[in-house]
Symmetry: C2
Subunit: 401 residues, 2 copies
């Protein structure tokens, strides 16, 4: 919360380095009423909101300046991520243009992108307004997309960011670990959902996405798939699987984890062989992905190593990507571990980098038992990957009573 923010300070410093690397002169995050409209870059470099029209400017020289409404000055100063904080009462344009004239940047990167929502926080109306402000200046023609800067800035997690994700993972796993002790066959999806929500409330935990489907709860083969509200009528039946899709947020950073359990029948001491085999098939698919999760490969490379195995092993086609970046949002960053389908755009063609954090997932639908889902959080290392969450290596059981 309030005051000095280490991650925001680290990210602004990192932005200076990436401006130099990408040969850009200056980066402007231009926003207003950010609580209402959302600007993913502002979360990164300020981790707070502003009320009035504001510009957060990073120059490749290392100079950093924020032009904000007078009422926001003290808050922005206390965060400490921008060296100069310039307040205005009536007119934003003069102090903003003064800065640009003083520094005369050759390129001005702003946050728009067709392919990457995390680099697309500038609204179209604000873009038109910026063009108006820069009319009759040489700067209007120097506007370009900040995508080359924002994508690595968002994707290359600093140590403090990775540590925050680890805390979110640990908090998420602590609740998931309690499932076999408290969930029983006969409970509806909604009852299971409420049990998880109660654990969250008791711990004062923040959800990593909309509470309405956090956790997602999928019991048996009849549960609809996707971002669905839990059913009031579908129950967990012995001999079927339970999948929870669950994530908490700690210090603004998210975990996103899925686990699969099998509800034992009265006569069973452990899941039957076909259930274990299906889970093992899912792990095989996943481990094919683990072997190619490394710097330099693209999301499409990872997807391509995994997806064909799903149908080769006789399971229905999987209609989702095999993973996504994770960070300040449960779906974050530039890189999607998906196929070259139009809906994924360019996001599947970007090479992975050290420090990227992904939720890697794989799903199988078995017409008798239900869903088998795996989703775990991993970090790209210089030569491969490491798990941030505890990899589920076998199917877990839920006892009858």
């Amino acid at each position: 919360m309030a005051g000095s923010n280490r991650i925001a300070q680290e990210k602004v410093k990192q932005a200076v380095d990436i401006l130099r690397e990408k040969d850009l002169d200056c980066w402007i995050t231009f926003t207003r009423e950010s609580d209402l409209t959302g600007e993913p870059c502002l979360d990164l470099i300020l981790d707070s909101n502003v009320t009035w029209l504001s510009a957060f400017i990073v120059f490749r020289t290392g100079r950093t300046a924020a032009v904000v409404g007078q009422g926001d000055v003290q808050a922005v100063e206390s965060i400490g991520s921008f060296d100069e904080v310039i307040g205005y009462t009536q007119d934003f344009n003069a102090p903003f243009l003064n800065l640009l004239h003083e520094m005369d940047p050759e390129s001005i990167a702003v946050n728009f992108s067709k392919d990457h929502e995390a680099a697309d926080g500038l609204s179209h109306g604000m873009f038109l307004m910026l063009e108006d402000i820069l009319r009759d200046t040489p700067f209007r023609e120097r506007i370009c997309s900040s995508e080359p800067l924002v994508l690595p800035l968002r994707g290359r997690k600093t140590d403090a960011e990775t540590a925050a994700i680890r805390r979110a993972v640990a908090a998420t796993e602590a609740i998931l670990d309690e499932v076999p002790g408290h969930i029983r066959p006969g409970m509806t999806e909604m009852q299971i959902y409420h049990w998880v929500q109660e654990q969250m409330a008791a711990k004062g935990a923040e959800p990593a996405w909309d509470n309405a489907y956090n956790p997602g709860v999928y019991c048996g083969p009849d549960s609809p798939l996707g971002h669905c509200f839990p059913s009031e009528t579908v129950t967990l039946k012995p001999g079927q699987t339970l999948v929870l899709d669950f994530g908490l947020q700690v210090d603004g950073y998210c975990a996103d984890i899925q686990r699969t359990w099998y509800a034992l029948k009265t006569e069973e001491a452990e899941p039957p062989v076909p259930v274990k085999q299906t889970f093992r098939d899912m792990l095989d698919i996943l481990e094919a992905g683990e072997r190619v999760l490394m710097p330099g490969n693209t999301g499409c490379d990872v997807d391509g190593a995994m997806r064909p195995l799903i149908t080769a092993k006789g399971y229905p086609e999987w209609g989702f990507a095999m993973g996504h970046e994770l960070g300040r949002s449960a779906h974050d960053g530039a890189v999607c571990l998906g196929p070259a389908w139009p809906r994924y755009g360019e996001s599947v063609h970007i090479p992975l980098e050290e420090g990227n954090v992904f939720a890697v997932e794989c799903g199988i639908r078995h017409k008798e038992y239900g869903y088998f889902h795996f989703e775990q959080d991993v970090r790209i290392t210089p030569s491969g990957m490491e798990y941030l969450s505890a990899k589920q290596k076998q199917i877990y059981s839920i006892p009858t009573s």
Copy 2:
């Protein structure tokens, strides 16, 4: 949370009426990963998030359709605000273009606006993407701003919306009413802030804006003004004022209230005459505003009735607007009760309408006692205004012990 959402259903129906009133053929809310990027219109018509590229389309004929990723279909259907929910797996464009070709709208309103952030949820990258999708169709040239539709849609609160704001106001006031029983001179701003945060946690209350400065706490004349983090060192001193700027959110709707207290000295049974007089001066300013808060007047009219009285009564100029709309966000909607300063743009020139809800505010800084702030929530009626919150009619006291 999950399932049927009455307010979202009401707002989509209201959108059909306003399309007809404003002579527009169709309105498209075009978004993706809305959890990350924010789309104020989506909150209104869906009150939930979508993951994949999506279009929510309202035609003046009354037809309503959503084109969403397959994984979002069940959630969007259960909310019930759009009659048709069309899911896609790989390609968004085909079902989206089919709808447009079938209906052939003459005008296509999308969410961009230079002046109003609540009508400016379309990102610039998404705007470019929409132009690409509509290339080689007659529709590209029919794009226009949805501002004429979105501003009244946001501003004209339905009964269910007003009822939600009343609940938020009641929850906020319940905590403010406890202040004289628990806050004492000698506490720092940060201690007072933590006391309020503890009351919120005990009630499971949601803040109406960033917790980091909710409540804003201002003790005596030395506290910096604006959206500031509470100080660890400034304390509430006998003979000085305390202002809290505080708001809770209930069912997605916000309250935004400020009250002023005076910390009694040991020998005082009530605030001294000059303190009461200063508070009375502030009420005079406010009541000049009450008399012109009615349909047809603009925000500038309201500001113009209030602002000159501040300096006429000998107080320093007030650097903020005299109020703002309230709704799903604490700063919401189109109309600002402010002066014609460049930073407020067109927002101060729009006539008020029945059903608008405002936080009306006024502030005085007294160099000896500190701040006197008033901020209360009101609704515009057919002929004037009504209070949704309990109007503070005199300065409240905080006892010494």
